[in-house]
């Protein structure tokens, strides 16, 4: 395979320097890779990329832009404009590769780190910021973008995705063969979520009902301070076998491979052939959130190791070598990224606070006497404040 950090350790069940669970590398543990960290295309016995040069360039632009989005949001948090931010740095390929494999009719349930997937679904970055600034819990139209809002409770949405996919099956939106009709649902979560009961129950329900759902686990090797070895003694993808669904490990920093394995899993789901677990092996280059301090639990050697396996750099080398990525395109892209950053800097500060009285809205379908009374209390307090 030649993928550093993914070779087996002689200490079965122990963790290598890069946090990878070792043991015998059987077929189930192999890592699908189509673009290596030097920017060279790699043959895989099972997967081929269907992406043409224009598509590859488009993925590259996506990754550059969401990295800019991530850097800007992190800066805005540091400036006190956001209450919190969960950086995606290092996970651009996993999110863009999988996110661009989706069809418009598919539906996504994601965690608080999938800004790149939300980007692929057409969510405005300023809407993403509403959540982190604390102006709205679910700041975009989930039905329009077909991605539900950020889920903070670890793993809870794996069940929602499974139920949604069960709904698609009941509604006959699976296995018809019509390209724009068959629907898949994707649940994004991390390595830590693999320990949650809800994720494991989701695997049980998904296989029991052959739900058209894809479980996309970004194993970034750290659940805040807990390494993957605290979650599993075997590679995460191997867990799938015990539940009776295909499990695939993919190089999460290889956008081409992430796109290929997700496309195949989505096709399988839409065709009515059931769920898939994808483990995208990647690395969280930044902190868990802006409140986290990884220097308390990581010594920096892994950061150095993974900095040479950057998901954007390798595609850049490939596109440069192909002559697809020119200086002109690079400078246009830099200008686009700059404009995005500027829009976020200005826009974040202009996001309106909700009205205090809006806290009483949408608790129930209809009016509620107790809430109406409390709303009147707050109205009175606000009125006093204006007088004072």
């Amino acid at each position: 395979m030649g993928y550093p950090g993914l070779t087996s350790s002689k200490f079965n069940g122990h963790v290598s320097r890069s946090g990878v669970v070792g043991g015998t590398m059987d077929q189930a543990d192999r890592v699908v890779q189509l673009l290596d960290s030097n920017g060279s295309l790699v043959d895989d016995p099972q997967y081929q990329s269907t992406l043409n040069d224009a598509s590859l360039l488009s993925l590259y632009k996506d990754m550059v832009l969401i990295r800019q989005l991530d850097i800007q949001a992190t800066a805005l948090q540091r400036q006190g404009e956001l209450g919190l931010w969960a950086p995606l740095l290092g996970q651009e390929a996993a999110q863009i590769g999988s996110g661009r494999a989706l069809k418009s009719q598919d539906y996504v349930f994601s965690t608080y780190r999938e800004h790149g997937v939300a980007w692929c679904r057409g969510v405005d970055p300023l809407d993403m910021l509403r959540f982190w600034r604390g102006t709205m819990h679910q700041p975009w139209d989930a039905n329009l973008h077909r991605i539900y809002g950020y889920q903070v409770i670890i793993g809870a949405h794996a069940l929602h995705a499974t139920g949604y996919a069960m709904g698609a099956r009941l509604a006959g939106r699976v296995g018809t063969g019509a390209a724009d009709k068959d629907q898949a649902t994707v649940a994004y979560f991390g390595d830590g979520a693999m320990s949650e009961g809800d994720v494991n129950e989701a695997f049980v329900f998904a296989t029991t009902y052959q739900a058209p759902v894809v479980f996309f686990c970004q194993n970034n090797q750290w659940a805040i301070s807990e390494p993957t070895k605290r979650q599993s003694s075997i590679p995460l993808a191997r867990r799938a076998q015990g539940f009776g669904l295909p499990g695939i490990r993919v190089d999460g920093n290889d956008v081409i491979a992430c796109h290929a394995v997700t496309t195949e899993a989505l096709d399988r789901a839409r065709a009515g052939n059931g769920p898939t677990l994808i483990e995208a092996f990647t690395y969280r280059m930044g902190a868990h959130t802006t409140s986290d301090d990884p220097t308390k639990y990581r010594d920096g050697t892994d950061d150095e190791f993974w900095s040479h396996r950057d998901p954007i750099d390798r595609l850049k080398i490939l596109l440069r070598n192909k002559g697809v990525l020119t200086d002109k395109i690079e400078s246009e892209l830099a200008a686009e990224a700059g404009a995005l950053a500027e829009r976020m800097r200005v826009g974040a500060r202009e996001l309106p606070d909700p009205s205090p009285l809006s806290m009483f809205d949408h608790v129930y379908a209809g009016p509620d006497a107790r809430l109406d009374e409390q709303r009147r209390d707050v109205e009175a307090i606000l009125a006093q404040g204006q007088v004072g």
Partner: protein
């Protein structure tokens, strides 16, 4: 008119809800061929098929979590939790996910899910089969918490709960499952009084006994005994624990000047405390005596051989009534 047991009324109510809305699905453990451990869903899978009466894996969080996904897809799931004591693995899905969907999406998404649950003790069963967890749910914004006390209410209120666009925790008093009554099932659902309105189960003048679910029958028994001693009790069946129908309670207590709240659940942090404080706020000058509670004790549910000492009975209710009368 049909004569139905309370469990039979639930069964017929579910059937009618499924007939009137093809989006209604039933989900739960053992609800298909077996018809549920209490037979609430008997015959429904045979008539509506395995896609609408779904036998699920044994995972309560999984059942509620997938019901949420199905509801987002446009279905109207009715979940059976087999016993009160089995609901806790689904707690996050209920109080964090289900209860908040409408709020967190600012009204864009909603979850018309009903969670049915047999609850309460008095059936001589083993641990975890006799609990009264209603206070957890009643104190959770976004949930509606409903409980029926007789077959007619069971028949209509389960249909109202399913038709509700809010998530409803629907608590069924399992020790009253075989109580029978005549029900006029020909009425239209829209013409039946809302489940959110409390019911004056017995009119009286000396003291108001406020109860719900399994202890409504106990309160009515106490009222009959009190009447023999010349004391007139008004018995209110709350029916809805969230929202509470305070106007009905307040009107009654302003009339009688005395109130005793009765429930099986523990005293501390319970519905009784909430009602007592609301009455103090609204009826302070009308009260002749402090509001009292007759409840289960602040212990875990005891072994069943001593549950009769734990559960509120007519004698304990009458003792409380006497205290308020003599205050």
């Amino acid at each position: 008119m049909s004569q139905l047991t309370l469990i039979g009324a639930i069964n017929q109510g579910l059937r009618r809800a499924m007939e009137s809305d093809s989006k209604v699905l039933l989900m739960g453990e053992d609800i298909g061929k077996l018809g549920g451990v209490f037979r609430a869903t008997e015959g429904l899978q045979k008539d509506f098929g395995e896609d609408r009466v779904i036998d699920t894996p044994l995972a309560e969080s999984g059942i509620v979590g997938t019901a949420i996904g199905l509801a987002l897809y446009g279905y109207r799931p009715v979940v059976e939790i087999q016993f009160d004591g089995f609901v806790y693995p689904a707690f996050d899905q209920i109080v964090v996910q289900l209860a908040r969907m409408r709020y967190r999406s600012a009204g864009a998404l909603y979850l018309p899910i009903t969670i049915r649950m047999p609850y309460g003790g008095g059936i001589g069963s083993v641990e975890h089969h006799s609990e009264s967890p209603e206070a957890y749910f009643a104190s959770t914004p976004g949930l509606r918490v409903i409980t029926c006390a007789d077959p007619a209410d069971a028949y209509w209120m389960i249909q109202q709960a399913i038709a509700s666009d809010d998530p409803v925790i629907f608590l069924e008093p399992k020790r009253r499952y075989y109580q029978k009554a005549e029900i006029d099932t020909r009425a239209e659902l829209a013409d039946v009084p809302t489940m959110y309105k409390a019911r004056v189960a017995l009119e009286g003048s000396d003291c108001t006994v406020i109860s719900y679910g399994p202890t409504v029958a106990t309160s009515l028994q106490a009222a009959r005994m009190a009447a023999e001693d010349g004391v007139s009790l008004e018995v209110i069946d709350l029916r809805s624990l969230s929202p509470l129908d305070l106007p009905t309670i307040i009107e009654s207590v302003k009339k009688t000047g005395r109130a005793v709240v009765v429930h099986e659940a523990s005293s501390s942090g319970g519905v009784g405390g909430e009602i007592g404080l609301c009455l103090m706020q609204s009826c302070f000058y009308y009260l002749h005596a402090p509001v009292l509670r007759v409840t289960g004790y602040d212990t875990p549910y005891p072994p069943s051989r001593i549950e009769d000492d734990y559960l509120p009975d007519a004698d304990r209710i009458l003792d409380a009534v006497e205290k308020t009368m003599k205050y």
